[in-house]
Symmetry: C2
Subunit: 193 residues, 2 copies
DNA sequence: ACTACATGAGACAATCATGTCTCGCTTTCA
DNA sequence: TGAAAGCGAGACATGATTGTCTCATGTAGT
């Protein structure tokens, strides 16, 4: 059994139950518990490796995007296509104490969030996003929508091939320039004044 | 110590660490471990009660909205104001086996999702949301955005009083009628054809 | 003052997951 | 054929957590 196979099994099992025991992961991988321990001496090592692997996959996927040949908006579209399928990994593991306090993971994750922030800024600069919306909120919302898209696919509410496009459309409209002439939101917005 | 105080402490502790021990919860509540067990005979009972209480709070908050005096869009705005502060509860507990298999919880949660679906349909009917976007996706995204808003407040990225409004604006724009004359999204959408 | 009751502290057994270790078995490579 | 290495199964000790129980203390109501 390869290291990758073990990490995959761990990803599947832990995504469904973050508190799952090593035995459960080993079983899912079709492997003895001892073998799992041979590859990852402690549970913490396994989780660290799983998170780092996921972060690495995201890096790998995003770095293949020809950033200089596309608009920031198009880059975001490509990123979503790449990472929506990976969206399940973090939400469940982000509370693991082993993950929270790990400097290597924090550094990698923080860097990715920073890159996303920069992309959002670039989109504001090119006029595809509304400058009035706080970048931090846009980033948080993108994060959440990626997760929601994956989740919707997972329980069959949305077709896999549609997920990224739906998320993209939601983001672009949601954070694009507000349209004062639009009929719908008008009423509620003025009613609040 | 009141039952509510215990549930509050459990909410705080478990939100940060879903695997936290009963001792940790009791300590947070400033109460002996035995006392905690007197109110909730098992850990499972505690978690069930916590989730049901959260669902009940949401029900209570939403039922005070004068549905017949507001447009569907305004109802959503009110709902967001009510439940964004409660948004942390579920995401962390939704994976607990005790919660997944509990019929009472599933029924209550399912009913709330259904009500949200109906509201989304009503918004489509009144023209404030785009009929072309799948209702299931809108519901999933609202769910995710509520969580993201709470989260953003929690780590200081967004002011508490702005959170619901940001989520509302994001939803309304994100799922409102697409504006073909808009400048920004145009490029990407046509580029995909 | 007295009774009833809830609490905090802590002892306790039982359970469970972790991490280590050993022992055969199989595969691979020479 | 033979040696080396990896594997599955499982025994084992350890530590943490759960859930039960007891007892002494404090407090509210009469």
């Amino acid at each position: 059994m390869t290291r990758q196979g073990l990490l995959n099994a761990a990803g599947v099992v832990l995504a469904r139950n973050p508190g799952a025991a090593m035995a459960e992961i080993a079983e899912k991988a079709g492997v003895g518990r001892a073998t799992l321990y041979r590859h990852f001496p402690t549970r913490e090592d396994l989780i660290r490796a799983l998170v780092l692997e996921s972060l690495r996959q995201i890096d790998e996927a995003t770095q293949q995007i020809p950033v200089d040949r596309l608009s920031a908006e198009q880059v975001l579209a490509e990123i979503l296509v790449s990472i929506v399928p990976l969206g399940d990994r973090f939400r469940f593991l982000s509370n693991e104490p082993a993950v929270l306090n790990d400097p290597e993971i924090n550094a990698a994750y923080g860097r990715q969030l920073d890159e996303l922030s920069e992309l959002v800024e670039a989109m504001k600069a090119e006029g595809s996003l509304d400058r009035a919306v706080p970048t931090a909120w846009v980033v948080a919302a993108i994060d959440a929508l990626v997760y929601a898209a994956w989740n919707a696919v997972d329980d069959g509410a949305v077709a896999r091939r549609d997920a990224a496009a739906l998320a993209f459309r939601t983001i672009m409209q949601g954070f694009g320039l507000a349209d004062p002439a639009s009929t719908s939101s008008q009423k509620a917005r003025t009613a609040k004044k």
